[in-house]
């Protein structure tokens, strides 16, 4: 932190002594920003996905279709509010509220900019900060799980229950990976407060590379690449987004946990989901992408990190992160549930643990040898990360070698090496592990209804596969 950077950089002492109307302005401002960002994110997502799928996307309501989500929101509010007969009424009512409130709360610790002047009062562009700032976001996301879980349970229906069970397991698993990825940032920044983490990314370390002096990168995304990757993957799981949208997999669970919800209650779930996406994007910008500080070419300009300008850089970073969310959704197919859980527990968590160990070791080495932590990261961490990535690439190619070779041979017209097993019509012998198959000469007894109709004289064929009455038997047999 240089003196220059510290001028507008709020410290922990700057929080908690605002005038009440400044606090009110900030609260209303954050609320407004989140609702607007939700409206924007929905239109943005629909338009970007449409482009990726060679469509046009919403283009009717408002200029170029940008008011579409506003219209959809109004429409939702006027829909009939259905309370399922089997619903657990108080919990069914509370669930969307529980999902929404933490989503809004989490944004209170996100730093949007430096200290600015609002009607003559100097105040940081952040509602509140605390020594445990980032943990508040984690706590809020932990609370948000309740909304989804309870919503699914209280609906009194099977698909929502399955969806909520899935989401409970999924969000807990991926929260662990997310927490582990953030630990390395804490170690490097030496703080859990969001504003101090932004301050820690203010200036790059001075590097001297073979006599060449230059300023190294300061973003934790570069210094801690593994953490960043784990974080990005984990938050996609945490926010139930494609390709990890198993709790609301529409091809399997209709709508998942919100299948039975309608009208404003559904709108609240929708709002909470998009606010969560905006929050994790903002947290990604804060923890890994330098927060509200201007990216490199702009940061040469002296005024870039003062006044209200940083708001622009910050939201630009958030929109880029949102774009990545949409990009993933437009590109990747949904994972199977067991693959998804295996990935979380057997890949993300162990990698996160080992990475924390590596980071802690690097920190200790840096402290012992009087080196700057940033220098150690650039000269040791980045090469190690590159070697690891290369190794992973090689390993995955080695593992798939057989399949690749076989596929190439098959494409070249060679004989297919592995004949797929064709099951005997009667199924495999059950003793050797085949499926139990009912006897195929099973005769279904004649239906009493058919006999009644027959006596009236209207013995028609109702459908195939039902060898029921004697008149239809012959008919079916000579087909």
């Amino acid at each position: 932190m240089s003196v220059l950077a510290a001028a507008d950089q709020p410290t922990l002492e700057d929080f908690g002594n605002d005038v009440w109307w400044i606090v009110l302005i900030k609260i209303v401002g954050i609320f407004g920003v989140l609702v607007l960002m939700t409206l924007f994110a929905i239109v943005f997502e629909r338009k970007v996905v449409a482009r990726m799928q060679q469509r046009i996307g919403p283009n009717r309501v408002g200029p170029r279709g940008y008011l579409q989500s506003l219209a959809d929101g109004l429409k939702l509010a006027f829909k009939e509010d259905i309370m399922p007969a089997l619903a657990d009424k108080p919990v069914y009512f509370l669930a969307p509220v529980i999902a929404t409130i933490p989503a809004f709360l989490a944004f209170s610790v996100i730093p949007l900019g430096p200290t600015v002047s609002i009607f003559g009062e100097r105040t940081p562009l952040q509602l509140i900060d605390s020594p445990i700032g980032v943990l508040i976001v984690l706590a809020c996301s932990a609370m948000g799980v309740y909304g989804i879980v309870l919503g699914g349970w209280a609906s009194g229906s099977t698909y929502p229950l399955l969806g909520s069970l899935r989401s409970a397991a999924q969000m807990i698993s991926y929260e662990i990976a997310m927490g582990l990825s953030i630990v390395a940032v804490f170690l490097y920044a030496g703080s859990m407060s969001t504003s101090e983490i932004v301050a820690a990314q203010a200036d790059g370390t001075e590097l001297s590379f073979f006599g060449l002096e230059f300023t190294g990168p300061s973003w934790f995304a570069v210094l801690l690449p593994v953490s960043f990757v784990i974080y990005v993957i984990a938050v996609v799981g945490e926010t139930n987004r494609a390709p990890f949208d198993l709790p609301e997999a529409e091809s399997e669970l209709v709508g998942g946990f919100h299948t039975e919800y309608s009208s404003l209650k559904f709108a609240l779930f929708f709002l909470a989901e998009y606010i969560n996406i905006v929050t994790v994007s903002a947290l990604a910008a804060t923890l890994f992408l330098g927060g509200w500080r201007a990216p490199w070419p702009i940061s040469i300009w002296d005024g870039a990190n003062t006044g209200w300008w940083p708001l622009l850089w910050f939201f630009a970073k958030v929109v880029v992160a949102l774009f990545v969310f949409v990009w993933l959704r437009g590109t990747l197919p949904r994972l199977r549930y067991d693959q998804f859980m295996r990935f979380g527990w057997k890949v993300l968590v162990p990698v996160g643990l080992v990475w924390i160990l590596v980071v802690a070791t690097l920190r200790a080495v840096a402290r012992e040898s009087d080196l700057d932590a940033g220098q150690v990261a650039v000269f040791v961490g980045v090469p190690i990360a590159l070697v690891l990535l290369g190794g992973l690439l090689l390993a995955s190619r080695m593992r798939n070698r057989d399949t690749r070779v076989a596929a190439r041979e098959a494409a070249a017209g060679g004989p297919a090496p592995a004949e797929p097993e064709v099951l005997d019509p009667r199924g495999r012998d059950q003793a050797s592990g085949g499926f139990p198959v009912p006897p195929l000469d099973l005769v279904v007894p004649p239906s009493p209804r058919l006999r009644r109709r027959e006596s009236v004289g209207a013995g028609t064929v109702v459908g195939t596969g039902r060898r029921s009455s004697s008149t239809t038997d012959q008919e079916d047999d000579d087909v």
């Binding site: 657990d88 020594p131 943990l135 309740y146 309870l150």
Partner: protein, 316 residues
């Protein structure tokens, strides 16, 4: 949740509020000033926490009980934060409310929504005894703690953990110093114990699949992708008049799709309405002959013979 569970939770709920009150009384005795905000938070959230504990004991539905407990835990988390232990508060909310209670809920949700506690007393007088014993135990514990903390000197937070931004930094650093300094052994042993418990539970419940029983899904999928048909076989036809597996799927020309024949079952032909616009339909003077199909110029128009799969002679 009957008898024993009831007394246990009643006890913990009451004991908690009592200890909080005694702690408050002790603090007031020694002249430590409690801020207005803290007082308001205490008198608002104290009853809320107590209501959560009572609701947890009294509600019949297991999931409602869990929710009441969540309310109590959240209030406790806020208490920690108000008493300038923000890290503890966050850990309380993240670990207990966020992870452990969700796991509880996970199990409870599988129990089923209609299952609630029976109100029939199996042991006569059990409920009264539980209440009396619970209140008695709470009184004992509360009195014990009150006596033990009666004349304790109050050091103040700043003396113990330093102030924010000061030499000894704040709450987070103080906890880290204690946890990884003085109590590092206990901390590590607890961690090892939890890991052993988790691994043990996995080991006991894990069933090894018998080796060589069949090819794994991955192997089968690989083999399938090397054949001419990597995708799934077409399903049987689903029509208004038949959805049996014996009804084969149709090809675009109306013929039967042999790949959709079910193994071991004779394919059956579906009875269907005459193809509109076909010669047969016109002959029989059906009202909608020459309808949509004719307009689309489909196969029916010129065909005199039986169209494959059109179910000749179906209307009788």
């Amino acid at each position: 949740m009957s008898g024993t569970g009831m007394s246990g939770t009643a006890m913990s709920g009451t004991a908690m509020s009592e200890t909080a009150m005694t702690a408050l009384a002790a603090a007031a005795d020694t002249g430590v000033v409690i801020g207005t905000g803290e007082t308001i938070v205490f008198w608002v959230l104290g009853p809320v926490a107590l209501a959560g504990a009572l609701g947890m004991v009294l509600s019949r539905n297991a999931v409602h009980s869990a929710l009441w407990l969540v309310l109590t835990m959240l209030s406790l988390g806020v208490f920690y934060v108000v008493q300038e232990a923000p890290f503890l508060g966050a850990a309380q909310i993240i670990v207990y409310t966020g992870a452990i209670m969700i796991l509880f809920l996970f199990v409870l949700m599988l129990v089923g929504r209609e299952s609630s506690d029976s109100v029939v007393e199996t042991l006569r007088g059990q409920r009264v005894a539980a209440i009396v014993l619970g209140i008695g135990f709470a009184g004992l514990v509360g009195a014990g703690i009150a006596r033990a903390t009666e004349d304790l000197p109050v050091a103040g937070l700043a003396a113990v953990q330093g102030t924010e931004g000061g030499a000894a930094a704040g709450n987070v650093e103080a906890i880290a110093g204690v946890l990884y300094g003085r109590f590092v052994l206990a901390f590590e042993v607890t961690g090892a114990l939890l890991i052993v418990a988790a691994v043990g539970a996995l080991l006991l419940t894990h069933t090894e699949r018998e080796p060589g029983v069949g090819r794994s899904q991955k192997e089968r999928s690989r083999a399938r992708f090397l054949t001419d048909r990597p995708q799934t076989l077409p399903g049987p036809g689903v029509y208004a008049r038949a959805n049996s597996v014996a009804a084969p799927g149709r090809l675009p020309d109306g013929g039967l799709a042999p790949s959709s024949f079910a193994t071991g079952i004779e394919p059956q032909r579906v009875d269907e309405l005459p193809r509109t616009g076909s010669a047969g339909a016109e002959r029989e003077g059906l009202p909608h002959a020459g309808g949509t199909d004719a307009a689309l110029g489909t196969i029916g128009g010129a065909t005199t013979g039986p169209v494959p799969g059109s179910g000749e002679g179906a209307p009788r």
